[in-house]
C-alpha cells in the first residue's frame, strides 16, 4: 500500500562495491548481480565433506546415471522405435534378407554401420548395469550404517524410488531392440498382467494396443523409457542431492567427530578434484569394459517371433529375484464362477513389490521401535546394531536364494544338478535360509561386540610374550589410545521399551493397546537381553587398568 507513495526516483540500492581486481572478479560480479551467486557460494564453496571410501558408492550411481543420459541421447538419434516390418539387408550377413522390425534393424544398424555406435550402445547398457548395481550397494551402505535415520528418512524413500524406477527403466530399455530375448521378456510381462484379476485382460489390451504383441509396444515403451521415467528420475535425483547437501554427510565415530559437526575436507578444491576426477574414472572404466566385454549382442539372438525362444532366456540380473519368484512358485490356479485366478503368477507379482516395500518403510519401523526423535549423523558400525544388520543380511540371502531360483537352468547345467531339486531347494530355502542367516549374523555381530569390549578393557594384543618371576608366560596387552577407546565406546545402546504398569498410580487398570504391546515386543527383540552386549563403562575400564598392570 505504501508503495503507491514511494517515488519512482527512489532507485534500487546502488552497488557500493569496490572496483573488481581483475576480469574474472568482474565477470563474477556481473553474474552475482543477476543470480546472487556470492551468497550461494558463501555457504558451499568450502563446505566440508567427510572422506570415506563407501561414500563413493553414491557417486558411482550419479555418474553412471549421467553416462546413461549422455549415451541415451546419442542412441535416440539413430534408433527407430517402430515395429514396422522391413527386410534387413545391412552389413550383418547372417540376417540378410530376414523380415525384422525397424527397431531391430536400426539396432543392428547402430551396432554395425554407425561408427562408434556399438561402443555407445555397450556403454549405455554397461552403465545401466553399473547404475543398478551401485544403487544396490549404496543402499546397503546406508542401511547397514543406519544412515537412514532421522533426518534422512525421506531421502531413503527418494533413493528407494530411484532404485525401483531404475529396475523398471532397465527392463523397458532391454525390451526396445525387439530381439528374440527382449520379446520373450515382454511376453512374460503380458502373462503377468493377464494374471491380474478383474482388469488384467483390459490392461493388457490397452498396453499392447490390442492382442500381444501388436505393433504399438515398442514405440510406447520408447516414450516411457526415454522421457517419462528418466524425467521422474531426474527430479528425484536432484531432490536426493539437495537433501544430501542440506543434511550434510554422515560420518563415522572418531576423535573430534560429534553429532554437531562434520569433519572432512572442503568442497573446493579437494572434494571437487576427487569427485570430479572420479566421474572420469567411472566413465573411463565403463568405456574400457564396453570395448572388451560384449553385453546384449542382439544380432546373435535374432528378431522376435512369438513361437520361437532362445533356451538361455535370462533377464538382467537385477530382475533375477522376480524371475526366481515366478519360477519356483507352484502352479496354483483357481477356477470359480466362470473365472480364472492365476495365483501361480499373481502371488509372485504381488510379492515382488511387497518385499521392496518392506525395505522402503524400514526406517519408519525402526524409528517407531526406538522412539528416538533426535537427529543422527554419526554412523552405526553394523555390529553395534545386530538386529538391523541381521535383517539386512536376511534380505540379501532371500535375494540370493531367489536369484538362484531365477538361474536354476544355468545352475543345473553348470553344476550337473537336477533342475527340479534346485527348484525344491529354493521353495524351502526362501523360507529357511533368511531365518538361519538372521540368527547367524546376529550372533556374529554380538561376537564382534564382545571382542570390542575385550579390546577396550584389556587393550590390544602386542604379540610380546613376557615371563613372570614365578614362571608364568603372559602376552603383554597394550592400552589403546584414547581416540580408539572413544571410537569403540561412543555408539548408542537403546534400552528396550517396557510396557507401562498394568495399573496406574491410582490403582486403576490401564488399557494397553495392541500397538504398544507390539512395540514393546519388537523393542525387546531389538535391544533386549541377548540382543546386544552392554558396552564397557569408564568405571569398569578404570577398575581393570588400575588393578593389575599386566592385563
Amino acid at each position: 500500500m505504501s508503495s503507491a507513495s514511494t517515488s519512482a526516483k527512489q532507485a534500487a540500492p546502488a552497488s557500493t562495491r569496490d572496483k573488481p581486481a581483475n576480469k574474472a572478479e568482474a565477470a563474477a560480479d556481473w553474474v552475482d548481480g543477476r543470480l546472487g551467486i556470492y551468497s550461494l557460494a558463501k555457504a558451499n564453496l568450502r563446505k566440508i565433506f567427510p572422506d570415506h571410501w563407501s561414500f563413493m558408492l553414491g557417486e558411482i550411481c550419479l555418474y553412471s546415471f549421467i553416462i546413461i543420459i549422455l549415451t541415451g541421447v546419442y542412441l535416440t538419434l539413430f534408433f527407430k522405435p517402430s515395429m514396422g516390418e522391413v527386410i534387413y539387408n545391412g552389413s550383418y550377413s547372417p540376417l540378410d534378407g530376414i523380415r525384422v522390425s525397424e527397431a531391430y534393424a536400426s539396432t543392428l544398424n547402430i551396432s554395425f554401420e554407425v561408427r562408434g555406435g556399438l561402443l555407445i550402445r555397450q556403454i549405455h547398457h554397461w552403465a545401466a548395469i553399473v547404475f543398478v548395481a551401485a544403487m544396490f550397494v549404496h543402499m546397503m551402505r546406508v542401511f547397514f550404517t543406519g544412515a537412514f535415520r532421522k533426518p534422512r528418512e525421506i531421502n531413503w524413500l527418494f533413493g528407494f524410488l530411484l532404485l525401483f524406477l531404475g529396475f523398471f527403466d532397465g527392463f523397458l530399455g532391454y525390451s526396445l531392440p525387439d530381439d528374440l530375448l527382449s520379446g520373450t521378456g515382454i511376453r512374460f510381462m503380458e502373462g503377468a498382467i493377464l494374471a491380474v484379476p478383474l482388469v488384467g485382460t483390459y490392461i493388457s489390451f490397452f498396453l499392447f494396443g490390442g492382442e500381444f504383441p501388436g505393433t504399438d509396444i515398442v514405440p510406447r515403451f520408447f516414450t516411457i523409457h526415454v522421457l517419462l521415467i528418466p524425467g521422474i528420475m531426474l527430479g528425484l535425483l536432484v531432490a536426493h542431492l539437495i537433501l544430501v547437501f542440506y543434511h550434510k554427510h554422515t560420518q563415522w565415530a572418531g576423535p573430534g567427530k560429534t553429532e554437531k559437526n562434520v569433519v572432512g575436507m572442503p568442497l573446493m578444491p579437494v572434494y571437487m578434484a576427487k569427485a570430479g576426477g572420479f566421474f572420469f574414472l567411472v566413465f573411463g572404466i565403463i568405456a574400457a569394459m564396453s570395448a572388451i566385454a560384449s553385453v546384449n549382442p542382439v544380432w546373435a539372438y535374432g528378431p522376435y517371433r512369438p513361437d520361437q525362444v532362445s533356451t538361455d532366456a535370462q533377464p538382467d540380473w537385477y530382475m533375477g529375484f522376480a524371475e526366481g519368484l515366478i519360477r519356483v512358485m507352484p502352479g496354483w490356479e483357481i477356477r470359480a464362477w466362470g473365472h480364472t485366478l492365476n495365483l501361480g503368477v499373481f502371488i509372485p507379482l504381488m510379492l515382488f513389490p511387497l518385499v521392496l516395500a518392506a525395505i522402503a518403510v524400514y526406517p519408519f519401523i525402526e524409528g517407531w521401535i526406538t522412539g528416538d526423535k533426535r537427529e543422527h549423523h554419526i554412523l552405526d558400525r553394523p555390529r553395534n546394531a545386530p538386529v538391523r544388520t541381521a535383517l539386512g543380511a536376511a534380505w540379501i540371502s532371500l535375494y540370493l536364494v531367489l536369484l538362484s531360483g531365477g538361474g536354476n537352468d544355468l545352475i543345473a547345467t553348470h553344476f550337473h544338478l537336477s533342475l527340479n531339486d534346485i527348484t525344491y531347494f529354493v521353495r524351502i530355502g526362501s523360507f529357511v535360509v533368511p531365518v538361519v542367516v538372521f540368527f547367524v549374523t546376529k550372533r556374529w555381530c554380538l561376537g564382534l561386540q564382545r571382542r570390542d569390549k575385550e579390546k577396550v578393557l584389556h587393550g590390544r594384543e602386542t604379540g610380546v610374550i613376557k615371563r613372570l618371576p614365578h614362571g608364568e608366560f603372559i602376552e603383554v596387552h597394550a592400552q589403546l589410545p584414547q581416540g580408539t577407546l572413544h571410537t569403540l565406546t561412543s555408539h548408542e545402546q537403546y534400552e528396550p521399551v517396557e510396557l507401562p504398569a498394568e495399573v496406574d498410580e491410582n490403582g486403576v487398570a490401564r488399557k494397553v493397546g495392541l500397538a504398544t504391546k507390539t512395540r514393546a515386543k519388537l523393542s525387546e527383540g531389538y535391544f533386549g537381553e541377548g540382543n546386544q552386549i552392554p558396552k564397557p563403562t569408564p568405571e569398569e575400564h578404570k577398575e581393570i587398568t588400575s588393578g593389575h598392570g599386566h592385563h
Binding site: Q122, G210, E211, N420, S490, E498, A515, T516
Partner: protein
C-alpha cells in the same frame, strides 16, 4: 504413547554431549580427545616429492590428450566391419575395441590425474564444520503457524463450507478425464483371447496343418515316432494362402496358432480323451506355454515330457499335457486333428480351451 517413550530410555552418549576438554579426558578414559593433529605427507615437506607428484599428474593429463587423438585417428582410419582376433577376447570389432580403449584411457587418465593431484598436492587438513539442527527453533515455528492461520482465516476456506466441499469434489473428479482419455489406447478384449486362427475351421471346411519350416502340408506318416514338429494353419476362407510371415498380423496370429506335433505309440498314450483328439498317435498341442506364454521347445522322447525353457513348466504329452512340474497352472490345450480326403492332417475346428497364459475371463 508418550508414557513409555520418556527420554530416559534413550542412550545418553550423544545427548549429554561428552566434553572435549582436558578435564573430561582426565576422568573419563572414553571421552572424545578431539581432532588428532594433522600429519604432513611426504609431498608437504619434501619439495622434490611434490615436484615428482606434479609431473605424474601432468603425465596423466598428457596421456589423456594422446588417447583422444588416438580415438579420432581410429574413428577415421578403421573400417566399421573390421574384425580382429585379440587374445583372450576372441574375434571382436576392431573399431569398437579401439574407440572404447582410447576413450576409456582418455577419460580414466583425467580422473586419475585429478584424484592424484588432490591426494598428493592439495591440502589434506581435516576441518570441522558445524551442523545446525534441521528443525526450526520454537519462535520460528510459532511465527510460521501464526502466519499460516492468518492466511487461512483470510481465505475463508474453513468458514465457507460449501466452497470447500465443492472444490474438493471437483478436484477429485477432474482426473477422471485423464483416465478416460486412456481408453483408446487399445480395443476391448471381448472374446479375442478365446479364439485362434484354427477357429476358422469347420468339419466341412477343415484347415490343413502346415509344417512351420517347409511350408508344406503334412501327412501322419511324415511324423516319426518320438519327433517334435511345429506347425501353423494352412489355407482357410479368411486366409487363402494360409498364415504367411508377410501377413500384417502374423505376429499376433502365430502367438496363438503355433502348434507342436508329436507322435506317440498309441498304447503309450495314457489319456483316452487325448488319444481320441489325435490321429494314429499324432497329437497336436498348442506350442504356447500356459504359464506366461513362452513357446515350448524342448521335448524328451523317452518320457514324452515337454519343457518350457522360460520357467521350466513340464507337461506330460502322453497324458493330455498335464502339468507335472513347474509354475504352469493348467495343461496345454490340444487341437483335434483328422485327415482329409488326400490323407493330409487337418483340424476340423478350434481349440477347446483358450491357448496361452490364463486370464480372469478364461473359463474351463
Amino acid at each position: 504413547m508418550s508414557h513409555d517413550m520418556s527420554d530416559d530410555k534413550l542412550p545418553q552418549a550423544h545427548a549429554a554431549g561428552e566434553g572435549h576438554g582436558e578435564a573430561a579426558v582426565a576422568d573419563n578414559p572414553f571421552a572424545d580427545p578431539g581432532l588428532p593433529p594433522h600429519e604432513p605427507r611426504r609431498t608437504d615437506i619434501d619439495e622434490r616429492a611434490a615436484k615428482r607428484a606434479e609431473r605424474q599428474v601432468s603425465l596423466l593429463f598428457i596421456v589423456s590428450m594422446l588417447a583422444t587423438v588416438g580415438f579420432i585417428a581410429s574413428y577415421v582410419s578403421i573400417d566399421a566391419d573390421r574384425i580382429v582376433y585379440i587374445f583372450p577376447l576372441g574375434h571382436i570389432s576392431a573399431l569398437n575395441f579401439a574407440l572404447g580403449m582410447t576413450l576409456g584411457v582418455a577419460l580414466f587418465c583425467i580422473g586419475a590425474g585429478a584424484v592424484h593431484w588432490a591426494r598428493t598436492l592439495m591440502s589434506d587438513v581435516e576441518l570441522p564444520a558445524e551442523r545446525h539442527a534441521i528443525e526450526a527453533d520454537d519462535e520460528t515455528r510459532a511465527d510460521v503457524i501464526e502466519q499460516f492461520k492468518t492466511g487461512a482465516a483470510e481465505s475463508g476456506f474453513g468458514r465457507r463450507k460449501m466452497i470447500r466441499n465443492t472444490l474438493i469434489g471437483s478436484m477429485a473428479l477432474v482426473p477422471l478425464s485423464g483416465v478416460m482419455l486412456l481408453r483408446d489406447l487399445g480395443p476391448l478384449p471381448e472374446k479375442k483371447l478365446d479364439v485362434t486362427g484354427w477357429n476358422e475351421a469347420t468339419p466341412n471346411a477343415p484347415i490343413r496343418l502346415v509344417n512351420m519350416n517347409t511350408n508344406e502340408p503334412m501327412k501322419a506318416e511324415d511324423i516319426a515316432v518320438g519327433s517334435l514338429t511345429f506347425a501353423k494353419p494352412g489355407p482357410s476362407a479368411l486366409r487363402p494362402a494360409g498364415l504367411q510371415e508377410s501377413d500384417e498380423d502374423f505376429q499376433e496370429a502365430i502367438a496363438k496358432d503355433a502348434l507342436m506335433l508329436i507322435r506317440i505309440q498309441p498304447n503309450d498314450i495314457k489319456d483316452a480323451d487325448s488319444a481320441a483328439l489325435g490321429f494314429e498317435g499324432v497329437l497336436a498341442y498348442s506350442k504356447i506355454c500356459t504359464h506366461v506364454g513362452c513357446p515350448i521347445s524342448l521335448y524328451e522322447q523317452q518320457t514324452h515330457h515337454a519343457l518350457c525353457p522360460c520357467h521350466q513348466s513340464t507337461f506330460d504329452l502322453s497324458d493330455g499335457a498335464r502339468v507335472i512340474f513347474g509354475p504352469a497352472g493348467h495343461p496345454l490345450p490340444q487341437l483335434k486333428i483328422v485327415t482329409d480326403a488326400s490323407g493330409y492332417l487337418v483340424a476340423p475346428g478350434g481349440f477347446e480351451h483358450p491357448v496361452g497364459p490364463s486370464f480372469w475371463e478364461r473359463s474351463e
